[in-house]
Subunit: 309 residues, 2 copies
DNA sequence: GCCAAGCGTTGCATTTTAGGCAACGGAGCG
DNA sequence: CGCTCCGTTGCCTAAAATGCAACGCTTGGC
């Protein structure tokens, strides 16, 4: 969109923190970028960046401007999306921020299903921690978040909440694999391999183990769930994951998952959320609806909201 | 703002209904306007006007676009206003839609008081009927409405409601002028001069007179309250007005106003309102706050809401 | 204390874009 | 049938945007 180039330029400057690097990102010369900024500041009547030796930084007026720019860009995308929808083209782009647990099974499945119906919709997924969710929504970096959160109240518009139990994951020939439900104490008879702090299941587990006599330090820590799965497949160690991220037996990697007795762990919640007071582009909105339906069917809604189109 | 010229052009086309007249309003040639439109449609990928023999008309995509354009223009104004506010300049423009009764005394007084504090704020006032209020707010034609409404529930965001009694207006030497409170029956002993239907007081009165034996057709009707005032000053006729529009004795035009007994008329309500889900520019928002304070002090709030900034 | 590196900024030449002018083709109307 | 008003387009000129090269400045390392 031609009339938005200045906005795109200013956003690039704000993000990179310097005119030259913004120019590089935009494949332009510094002078072109600098002039766009200068012209805009002149029109506005105020400078929006303060110039430092190392680059530029938004001043308080600039904070207002960048917010307006992001709103405008998002609104424009929404307009395009609605018009495409009107013409039956079902186009658009959806940017999803999600917890790590959604990555291996759930999200790719959902996206694949949606993409099969609407091939012209493009996707982008970034793994985030739940503390970042509100911020990324606020800055329009992502349209939707799907995050696991063990306790706090989200600071964004929650469209769906579903409960999540904790699962133990182990090799298919593991002695505990013959039980359907496991007590935590049983698991801790074996070495445990845990995700690092920040991963969804970890916080649940620490909460549950607080004060338990059988609690022991993990024999293995990793920030890669792929690695943990491979590890437990080859040893008698046990790792944990919330149910949506646990292997469902369809992958044949020699591992199985078993539910932890609800008496041992209070489950956390999986949140589907979007920016407060934002009307999503059609593609994103439909995607959220589809995901919400899947989640509600699978886990039963703890709370639900029917938002505006 | 340079990057909004296309939007302004499109809005002009939409309003005038033809490219040539839009061009004339914008002091440009038809070809320039036509090219802007064409380029925008090309960028968008869809035509937004259907071409007819007499001009152009928005199609359904165009309806979405024009809505987006109006939102964007309003948002831009809000941004400018906030930045001016940040710089302590307190600039801006406020467009007020109000009922006729507000015109002679209340609104000019409020605007004058506000303008004395903030000389760089410009104003625009249009007299409207309450049925138009929601529509004018919706299309961003006015920022604020101050309307009298005898019954229905407003279809916009109400920031303040105050009750309004009905007043009788007569010459200062009228026989009834010696009473402080009048019964309707007393007034109808004299000829009555009424505003036309649509004016605030008229509907109240008709409601009150329904089924009354002393009801008589008005001896005079006019859509000019100025005329009615002059008329009653020179005859023994009586006219009516809600209290905010009634002369308060400061103007010395030989007329006085007396309250109608509340047993005879159910009072209507004066509404202060703005567009749903809109954050007003700073100047408009402050003006609304000031007006609301004045109204609440004068008539006591029937209901009140403290809106966001 | 100086010098190299990186920053924002500016004069100048070039390219790209927008605008005015005049003319064309088509639809409605008497 | 002809007149009028509409949107549209080719052509030319004016204006805006961009790239290039160079300037002045601050910072950080030697």
């Amino acid at each position: 969109m031609k009339h938005l180039v200045t906005f795109r330029v200013i956003e690039a400057i704000a993000q990179t923190g310097s005119i030259r690097s913004a120019a590089e990102r935009l494949s332009q010369t510094p002078s072109a970028v600098q002039r766009r900024l200068q012209n805009y500041e002149e029109e506005l009547g105020f400078p929006i960046f303060e110039r430092t030796a190392k680059g530029v930084r938004l001043n308080s007026a600039g904070e207002l401007v960048i917010q307006h720019i992001r709103e405008t860009l998002a609104d424009t995308e929404r307009l395009n999306s609605r018009i495409a929808d009107l013409a039956g083209m079902r186009r658009g782009h959806v940017s999803v921020g999600c917890s790590q647990a959604l990555v291996p099974y759930f999200l790719p499945r959902e996206i694949a299903a949606y993409g099969a119906l609407h091939p012209n919709v493009t996707f982008e997924s970034v793994v985030i921690e739940h503390e970042q969710a509100a911020e990324l929504l606020e800055s329009y970096t992502v349209d939707v978040v799907l995050v696991f959160n063990e306790k706090s109240v989200p600071d964004y518009d929650v469209r769906l909440v579903v409960p999540q139990r904790l699962m133990a994951i182990m090799a298919v020939d593991h002695p505990l694999a013959r039980y359907d439900v496991l007590r935590l104490r049983q698991c801790y008879a074996y070495p445990v391999a845990l995700p690092v702090r920040g991963f969804g299941g970890r916080a649940l587990l620490e909460q549950a183990l607080y004060g338990k006599t059988f609690a022991a330090p993990p024999s293995m820590e990793s920030n890669s769930f792929e690695f943990l799965k491979a590890h437990v497949a080859m040893t008698d160690a046990i790792t944990f994951q919330i149910e949506i991220g646990a292997p469902d037996g369809t992958e044949g990697a020699g591992i199985v998952s078993r539910c932890i007795d609800p008496r041992d762990v209070v489950g956390g919640m999986l949140y589907v959320g979007q920016r407060r007071a934002r009307t999503l582009p059609v593609a994103a909105s439909r995607f959220v609806e589809k995901v919400s339906r899947t989640l509600a069917d699978a886990y039963g809604p703890a709370a639900r909201r029917s938002g505006p189109g």
